[in-house]
Structures are given as C-alpha cells and as structure tokens.
Symmetry: C3
Subunit: 200 residues, 3 copies
Amino acid sequence: MSLIKIIEVLAILIGAFSGFAEARSKKMDVVGVFTVAFITAFGGGTLRDILLDKRPLFWVTHQEYAILIFVLSLIAVPAVRMARKIVSERVIVFADALGLGLFSIAGVSEALAAGMPIFIASMMGVITGVFGGILRDIVCNEIPMVLRDGRPYAICSFAGCWMYLLMQKSGVPPDFSLWSSALAICGLRLVTWAKGVRLE
Amino acid sequence: MSLIKIIEVLAILIGAFSGFAEARSKKMDVVGVFTVAFITAFGGGTLRDILLDKRPLFWVTHQEYAILIFVLSLIAVPAVRMARKIVSERVIVFADALGLGLFSIAGVSEALAAGMPIFIASMMGVITGVFGGILRDIVCNEIPMVLRDGRPYAICSFAGCWMYLLMQKSGVPPDFSLWSSALAICGLRLVTWAKGVRLE
Amino acid sequence: MSLIKIIEVLAILIGAFSGFAEARSKKMDVVGVFTVAFITAFGGGTLRDILLDKRPLFWVTHQEYAILIFVLSLIAVPAVRMARKIVSERVIVFADALGLGLFSIAGVSEALAAGMPIFIASMMGVITGVFGGILRDIVCNEIPMVLRDGRPYAICSFAGCWMYLLMQKSGVPPDFSLWSSALAICGLRLVTWAKGVRLE
C-alpha cells in the first residue's frame, strides 16, 4: 500500500471517528452514528464535487470506505471508548491535522484541474478540508466548532492552499508542491494548537 | 389511477403532513409550513438525484405535487387539526411505513439503474426513504429523530433494500422483487413499531 | 458601471452584511464571519443552480465578489459597528428589499430560460431570493427567521415572481417586466414592513 493511500484511509478514519464521538455524545443510535460518521468523513469532498459538478463522487467509486465506516459503526460504542483509552489526545490531534492537510491540498488541486479561478480554488481546498466537520455539527444541532472556537484551523488550510497555488504558478514540480503544502498545513495546525494561538 | 400512483401520492401527502405538523409545533407561518412540508416530502429524493447528478428532479417534471402541497399549506392549520381528529395515529404510522417502503425501493432501483455499486445503491435507497425527515428536523432546529430515537426505521429501509438487491441479482422478476421488498420494509416497520423494539 | 451592476453589488453586500451581523452575534471568529457572510450572499443562487444543474456558479465566474467578502470579513467587526452608527435601520431594510426583488426576478427568469414549468420557476425565484438567509440561520443554529416571523417576505417575492411570469406570457417586453416586477417586490416588502402587516 502506497504512503498516500495509508494517509487517505487514516484521514477518513479520523473523520469517521470524530463523527462517532459526536454522535454518541448526542446519544444517537447506530443509524445516527453511521450517518454522522459518514457525513464527517465525506461531507467536505462531496460538497466540493457537487459545486464543481464532478461525478462520480469519491465514495461512490470507492464503496469499500463506506462499507468500512458501516462496519465500524456497528462496533462504534466500544470502539470509541477503547480508542480513547489507547489513543491519547495528541495522537488524535496529529492525525486530524494530517487529514486536514491532505484533504485541503487534494481539494485545491482538483479545483485547479477543473479550471477554477485561483481564489475559488483556494476556497474549494478549505471546503474539502473543513466542511465535513461543519456538516457534522449542523446535523448534531450545534453551531459549527470551526466557525467559532477561534483556533486556527480553516486558516491553516487556507494558508497551505495558497502555498500550493503559488508553487504551482512558479513551476515547482507538482509532487513536491503537493506534499510540502500538505505538510505545511499539518505543521501550522500543530504549532498553533500547541502554542494555544487564538484569532479574534 | 394505477395502484402505484395512488401510493405515490399518499407517500408524498404523508411526508407533507408530517412537515405541516412539525412546522406548526415550531409556530412557523405559512411560508415555513410550505417550505418544511416540501422539504420533508421531496428532500430525500432530491438529495439522491443531486448525488447521482440526475435531472430533471421528480418535482420539477411533476409540478402538480408542488402545487398540491402549496394549496394544502394554505389550509394546513385547520387541516392538521382536523386530520388529527379523523385520522388515528395507527393510520398515520401505517401510511408512513408504506411511504418508507415505496420511496426506499424507488431509490435503490434508480441508483442501480444509474450504475451505482451495490452497497452505494442500498445507501441511496435509505437516503431516499429517510432524508426528507432528517432535513425537516435540521430546518426545524432539532437533532434528527431518525438518528436518535432508537426505533428501527432506517434499518427497516436498509434491510428491504438489500432484499431487493439480492432478488435482482438472483434473477427474480423486477416487478415482484420491487413490490415484495417495499412491502417487507412496510411490514418490518409496523411489526417493530407495534412490538416497541429498540436499538442500542 | 451600469445600474444593474450597482444593484447587484449592493444586494451581495447587503447579504454579506446581514451574515456579518448574525455571525458576530453568535461570537463567531473571522472564519465563521466569512463563511456565514458568503453563504448568506450566495446560498440562494447556488442552491437554485444546483437544482437546475447549471454551472459554472455565479461566484465562480465572478471571483471578485468572493474576494470582496473575504476582505470585508477581515474588517467586519469594526465595519459592522460603524455601519450601524452611520446607516439607519431604514436604509438596511430598503437595500435588503431591493436585493430581494432583484435576486428573485433573476432567479425566476433563469429558471424560465432553463425550461422549468411555470410554478417551479416561481419557486426558483423565491429560493434565489430567500434561501441565503435560511442557510445562514441553519448554520447559526436558529430556526430560520423567514419561516416563522410572520412578516411578508417570501410572499412578496412569490407575488412578484408571478407578476413577472404573467407579464412574460402576455408578451410584455422582457426588460420592462423584469424591472417592474423587481420593483414591485421591493415596494410590497417596504409597504408591508412599514404597515406592520403579519401573516397567520
């Protein structure tokens, strides 16, 4: 399995896991747990593809991810409890930051390939990275965390998307700009999180 | 009027009626009543068609249903009150279960015809059957009932969709698999409801 | 700059401004302020284009509007405070009514051009005019104002859309029917607002 595939699966699992936790904290049943996990993992990319009118959707061509989340939902209650014992908060934040970086850069590069103007492409990157969590919070009847907690999250995604766009325009090799920008988002998120940086 | 047409109209009316009741309980005005009823009746099928990129939408080619809900909205307040006196809860649950079965199987068969892989097709069936109610609850600022009340509802739809898919793969005549699966969903919902079955 | 261009920019700014105010009242950070403002300004038109399957979206081909809202978001806190001192409530209601008229008629005429049946076209006009505000309220975790406050708002849009449709069917010159209907919506909103008219 290639490195990008491993990170992809990890990012989806992290998204699903945050959905499991949120759904359980709202006392949802197994249907709610699956729905919220699915929306968290795939909501951002799906919204981007609907806006770009791109089909088939990622999870349609990769139904194995949908099946994986389905199976995990059936064991989510003990899984979430166990995962919290085994996995420390640091690991979750790290994996989530990695997912944010990967999803964002995947989003901006797809939007660029679809001929979007540059600012819109950067927005599509951020949407891919953060809208799964926004939709999760809407379904769970909360004001979306990412819109109000003042921690740099969408901002990190936005900065990294522009780094990618500028590198692309400057003729940097695609592979290098993709990986370095994704890592930059991840690093920026981790540093601002560790330092407790807050926005207005 | 054919039997399927009658059930279709009935399913839409039931969806709209549950929207009327929910909107009035939130003290919405006539605009809210129409909007919520419309979203409840057509939300699931519309989301499926957007995900499949299928156009025109059902309610666009059948504007008579939109007009019907519009007219009903104007008389919804007395109608809901009267309907509750005439119609017992059993009749509502029965009609709703029939609608769940019909919408779900219509959704899964459309998704299969659009070339979706089998697990995704079953998800599209469930989305068609239950997402109208989820969107209704989001607009009404509630955690969606179907995700948290622990009564088998989406589960019944899911089981029936798989029954349909397996019959289709086994070469059972389409008409028979369609009707028997829709009735199975309806029956499963009614039996689990009557017995008070609850999920984790 | 042509008159229609001025009104268009004004309508978008008004939408964004109402998003700024709502986001700040929910104590959102700068990411929330931008997101909510963007959704309020473009949500109605985007939903219409998704339903009609029309691409590219308005804000994709006019990225200058997205950039404008982005820049405004950075200065939104002092801007909202200042704007409230300089601009009286009357001016805001007037501009908002103008935006409602323009967006609604743009929506109904686009739907007609896309071959929608007449009642659906009128619904698309109303969706374009009012759904930005509905999505804003959903993201902000409120029951949408336009669905419950009983003030004629969507109703004014609906009436004006039918005025436009009837004029189009009667062979009135397109330019005249467009402008007179948009002004009718604006006028209807202002008169009912000034008189304190309420619906059931």
